[in-house]
């Protein structure tokens, strides 16, 4: 997990939430465009839009970056024009 040392200019990220999550926390709004560079940036931006949302995202979701599923890890770098989809975290047997 390299840390994003030299801060590069934020870029546009498309953030998506599931219906259930958006009903609970964002008045049903499911799609957002925010400026970010890392997952930390995405979470902060979402938390600015909906104070408290950031913690819910950290606690309750995994995220799919262009479909690839990751745990929420601040330092993960988001590629340009990526779609970041927050989904319920999965645990198996």
């Amino acid at each position: 997990m390299e840390i994003d040392t030299q801060a590069v200019a934020p870029q546009t990220v498309r953030v998506m939430l599931t219906g259930g999550f958006s009903r609970r926390y964002t008045d049903g709004v499911r799609e957002f465009e925010i400026q970010a560079r890392t997952v930390r940036g995405v979470i902060s931006a979402m938390d600015r839009l909906y104070p408290g949302l950031g913690e819910h995202l950290e606690e309750e979701t995994s995220l799919a970056v262009n479909g690839v599923i990751h745990e929420v890890v601040y330092t993960q770098i988001i590629p340009a024009d990526a779609e970041v989809f927050f989904i319920p975290r999965i645990e198996g047997g």
Partner: protein, 758 residues
């Protein structure tokens, strides 16, 4: 880095071989120690009193007679455990509510299922503890109970929690019910989708609660000291999670609890939670003696997690050419006595293998007077797949299409949409279907009363937190430790990946599982995550140790570290300009350990992402006895995308095991309750898991579509295989008899009734 370029080449020395596992000999000689195999001087035995009632208010518990019995050292009730806040913590699907958990470990206000733990006794012998249990007087007010999920959802059903309001419905209901949660995923326009369909099938299904059926009952041994420090030997799928839950339930500081990973005798998801551990620790704290608890098989069936039974309705629309246009599914799952069925997974996985533009899944999490459900192999996915894959088979027949080709036509690949939102990022499904289409037996004709059924399954597979450490010994041998319980050969796969990365022989890597005080956090061995996530930690640790080895070599040669490369287990000069040096082996470098800086050791920790899902497609041939309804499995072929098989024999073993568990689920396994809500088949005689003579050889086909996010292409292999069998067998029975079974298990009386139905 050279090691990385080497790793990207697809030629391997160790990965893909099937050597004998490091923990093999102790396990074939009886020397390996499982949960019940530990003892300590001065040890007491504990027994647990369990509720004889399915639903009862506990008016009072009188333990005085039990305490007075000679040899009894302590009696424990919920009064000895601290209160917990009512709060759902963590991910929605597995939100932990300690208010519920502590009540499952020892009942408080109410007993919510037969077998619910009420009190525990620690005594000098197991016999005295058992005698003392019988002396505990509990004053119960027996309440009406409810077992079936549909009945539990009825407005007039007895309510387990008088204040439970369904979550996920706006506006929130005012009346309490047994429905703990509603959830929904929706994409596209259902009405438009179904309007465009040429054929639509809508059908309802039921699945029974089935137990993980591990052969080892839950057991543990605890030793709590007067200084507040405690050691716990426990067989679980995750000793770090056992530590966290036990400490929280008892109000302990996590650092004061060391959990030693006993060998685990099977878990399949059922040993990712705690039952006896907090009781053993609390009794040890109370008595000052080590305390051992071993559940009986009856306890295991009555009080530990089966997976949910379900009730569902599935509706799918298809065009004549086989294009799926719309799908709708409603899934109601039994959570057991406390919230938390895998209904969200059931809803997310239901249609996940297929490109369907208009799709909705609705899920309900429902409590009833059964043991709290626990994870079981791809939790939730097999339940919804039974309905979905059955309906697909009907549609295939309606449009006259081969059922595999129908699946292939709609199979997801990288970039396809998912019903829960994000795009799929991996191929692998189509390849499993093709593997069966190419199978020589798939098109062979069958005999009288025989039928062939196919079905597929999806599972996410897992990532998450893992830690690995590596120590190079003075003789060049390697000690590898992780904190991931080895449930089926992971020590071997970890050693294989380490050997591959370091360029040393498998035999020189000692692969171990360390206790909670000896290595960083590892999440449970579950979700098919260990070979992927812990494997990543192992590879990263190896790469870090290689950096150290290059540094040590550069110190020995007195050259710049940049001038040293690592190849095939040797440090070598990068080129002539560095100088003329004989390659240095691990052993040669290790011999100079002290003078080059001391112990050669490192640890790597990850919170792994980038895991790839597992797809499994299977076909089976069955023969149905038209006079008895007996179903014989003649052939079973299971193809699964494993990414890359690190240890092929254990990958095959995972598929064999998952398929056979699915066969049991399909044909005979079920929780059977009497009128009083008591489990009437709490033993291996009447809870019928498959025996050797019931089965043919299961044919496992390892499909390898590597995961680019893992240096060796690993995906998970443990779970996807249990998803298809129930539907595959139902489809085979239908093609053998013309009768569609919609309720599990498809036991002989049900099959015969279907055959005889006019």
């Amino acid at each position: 880095m050279l090691t990385n370029t080497k790793n990207t080449e697809q030629v391997f020395k160790s990965v893909g071989t099937s050597p004998i596992r490091p923990d093999g000999v102790p396990k074939v000689t009886g020397m390996a120690q499982y949960g019940a195999d530990y003892s300590l001087p001065g040890m007491l035995w504990a027994k647990i009193l369990r509720s004889p009632h399915a639903h009862a208010r506990i008016r009072s518990i009188n333990t005085s007679k039990a305490e007075a019995l000679p040899g009894v050292k302590a009696v424990l009730t919920s009064a000895d455990l601290p209160n917990q806040n009512f709060d759902y913590i963590g991910p929605e699907r597995v939100a932990v509510n300690y208010w519920h958990m502590t009540r499952n470990i020892l009942a408080r206000e109410k007993a919510l299922y037969e077998g619910h733990a009420i009190a525990a006794v620690a005594a000098t012998t197991a016999a005295i503890a058992a005698e003392a249990i019988a002396l505990i007087e509990v004053d119960y007010e027996v309440l009406p109970h409810v077992i079936d999920v549909d009945e539990a959802m009825h407005p007039d059903a007895p309510v387990l929690f008088e204040d439970m309001i369904t979550r996920g419905i706006e506006p929130a209901p005012t009346k309490p019910s047994n429905i703990t949660k509603r959830l929904e995923f929706k994409v596209g326009d259902l009405d438009a989708g179904f309007a465009a369909a040429d054929e639509i099938v809508e059908m309802s299904f039921k699945t029974a609660a089935v137990h993980q059926g591990y052969i080892e009952p839950h057991s543990c041994l605890a030793r709590y000291g007067a200084d507040g420090q405690c050691e716990l030997w426990s067989a679980s799928q995750g000793h770090f999670v056992v530590r966290a839950y036990t400490a929280k339930i008892l109000g302990m500081e996590i650092g004061n609890l060391v959990v030693h990973p006993a060998e685990i005798g099977g878990g399949f998801g059922g040993k990712t939670v705690v039952y006896v551990e907090p009781i053993a620790v609390a009794l040890s704290r109370k008595t000052g003696h080590p305390v051992k608890i071993m559940m009986s098989r009856e306890d295991v069936f009555k009080a530990t997690g089966p997976t949910s039974g379900g009730s569902m309705t599935v509706k799918i629309g298809v065009k004549k050419d086989g294009t799926l246009v719309a799908a709708d599914g409603v899934f109601k799952l039994q959570a057991g006595a406390f919230p938390g069925s895998p209904v969200m997974n059931a809803a997310m996985c239901a249609f996940a293998p297929y490109i369907i533009p208009n799709v909705r899944t609705v899920g309900f999490d429902v409590v009833s007077n059964r043991p709290k459900s626990a994870a079981y192999r791809a939790p939730g996915s097999p339940i919804s797949a039974f309905g979905v894959e059955s309906v697909l088979d009907i549609l295939a027949q309606k449009i006259g299409m081969d059922p595999l080709r129908l699946r292939l036509k709609n199979a997801v690949k990288a970039g396809s949409p998912t019903p829960y939102g994000p795009k799929h990022s991996h191929d692998g499904y189509a390849e499993t279907i093709q593997a069966l289409l190419d199978h020589p037996e798939y098109n062979k004709p069958l005999g009288k009363n025989q039928g062939r059924g196919v079905a597929s399954g999806f599972w996410f597979n897992g990532g998450g937190e893992s830690t690995a450490s590596i120590h190079i010994n003075e003789d060049g041998s390697v000690v590898l430790a992780t904190g991931s319980m080895d449930v089926g050969g992971s020590r071997a796969s970890m050693a294989l990946m380490a050997a591959e990365t370091l360029g040393v022989p498998y035999a020189s890597v000692r692969s171990t599982v360390a206790d909670t005080a000896s290595i960083g956090y590892n999440h449970v061995t579950g979700g098919s995550r260990v070979t992927y996530a812990t494997g990543l930690a192992v590879v990263e640790a190896c790469n870090k140790i290689i950096e150290q080895l290059r540094l040590r070599a550069s110190i020995m040669w007195d050259v710049d570290v940049k001038g040293v490369v690592w190849e095939d287990g040797f440090a070598k000069p990068a080129d002539k300009s560095v100088g003329e040096f004989e390659p240095l082996s691990l052993k040669a470098i290790a011999a100079k350990r002290a003078v080059t800086g001391g112990p050669i050791v490192t640890e790597a920790a990850v919170n792994a992402g980038g895991q790839a899902p597992g797809f499994s497609t299977q076909f089976c041939d069955v023969e149905v006895d038209p006079e008895t309804g007996g179903v014989k499995i003649l052939r079973f072929v299971a193809a699964q995308d494993v990414g890359r098989a690190i240890h092929p024999k254990y990958c095959e073993g995972q598929i064999h095991g998952g398929v056979v568990q699915g066969i049991g689920w399909a044909l005979n396994e079920e929780y059977i309750y009497d009128k009083l809500g008591r489990l009437s088949n709490a033993g291996f005689l009447d809870y019928r898991i498959p025996v050797a003579s019931d089965l043919p050889m299961i044919e496992a086909i390892l499909v390898e579509v590597p995961n680019p996010n893992h240096p060796y292409g690993v995906k998970g292999v443990g779970e996807a295989n249990i998803v298809p069998p129930m539907a595959a067998i139902a489809n085979a029975i239908q093609r053998a008899t013309g009768k569609r079974l919609t309720e599990l298990p498809m036991s002989p009386p049900k099959v015969l009734a279907a055959i005889d139905a006019v």
